[in-house]
Subunit: 160 residues, 2 copies
DNA sequence: GTCGAATTACTCGGATATATAATGTCCGAGTCGGGCAGG
DNA sequence: CCTGCCCGACTCGGACATTATATATCCGAGTAATTCGAC
């Protein structure tokens, strides 16, 4: 069970877009250069963020990606869901009711699978923790340790 | 990010081993028949449970698998860790420090990655929720809805 | 009848294929900006 | 000098390879029960 690498990329890209505060779209190539990741593959992840409504995309010469809303309105859960999809990590296949059954199918279907319930309980905690943290919180944590990060990022962006 | 199907199998097998209360090892073939899953592949998952110290295995004619300790001493976290391995789902690759850097490497290495920290916080909640639930709890939840499950399971096992 | 050793069938365990998903690449459609001609 | 149109380059977007992981299978090593023979 490994999470897609794209989640990390997506989160960092959102932060960078906020720090740049470019006022205009930032192309994939710039972001890819900043993190040394394959541009085309990063583009694919950014597309997913657009579909999720986190970013907006602009085509054409000075095109690229922009934040669709402020970081305070984007949770870690939003980012993860955008890249990983909405489905749960644990997928109950109801093996309990297969085979030379224990109990009648009817009764089994009425009661939920306890293993599944336990898994969902844990996963709900995970999702709640992710939803409780906005990208603004994360950005603030970075700024606390490295106050000049936004300024330095802008500086690099304008020179490169 | 999908969890291995083997986790579901492993959890249900542990429950069944407890319900059977056979007093002797139960072979893979029986468990596989009960759930209609590929025997050889199930065997692989059970091996992982043995390596994790959740089950004990016995070779030979009347061999098979047994619980190494009571269900009260086995948490959902144990089962997940046995199948999925110990590593975290989110793996920080430190992309922030790659590329035409923002800030000096030295300073960056001193401060932890805030994105990673946020992810770990969520994942810790998940792990805590899993560790808080023992298989005994899960078994109790099943028994509450279907009190005869253990009896029926034994009955099936002895006839088949 | 009892004991012991060889045999045999059964089971685990890991090495080996196959299917599926994640990662990475490529090319076309669309669009914005700039250049150029005409007024 | 200003305005409108055309051209071209840039960017996104999705279709297409490639690699890694999960799923599934197979066969050998080892063991315990059973059988057979000897005492």
């Amino acid at each position: 069970m490994r999470m897609n690498e794209g989640v990390e990329w997506a989160a960092h890209c959102c932060l960078m877009l906020d720090w740049l505060d470019a006022g205009r779209p930032v192309p994939t190539a710039k972001l890819a250069a900043a993190f040394e990741v394959p541009p085309a593959y990063l583009n694919k992840q950014l597309q997913a963020l657009v579909r999720a409504g986190i970013l907006t995309s602009t085509a054409g010469v000075r095109g690229g990606f922009q934040l669709a809303r402020p970081l305070t309105k984007i949770t870690m859960m939003d980012v993860v869901a955008a890249i990983e999809g909405p489905e749960e990590a644990f997928q109950c296949t109801e093996i309990r009711q297969r085979g030379p059954g224990v109990g009648t199918p009817e009764r089994i279907l009425r009661t939920p699978c306890a293993v599944n319930a336990a898994m969902r309980r844990a996963e709900t905690q995970w999702r709640k923790a992710l939803a409780a943290q906005t990208l603004a919180d994360v950005s603030a944590a970075v700024t606390r340790k490295a106050p000049k990060v936004a300024e330095q990022t802008r500086e690099w962006y304008e020179t490169a």
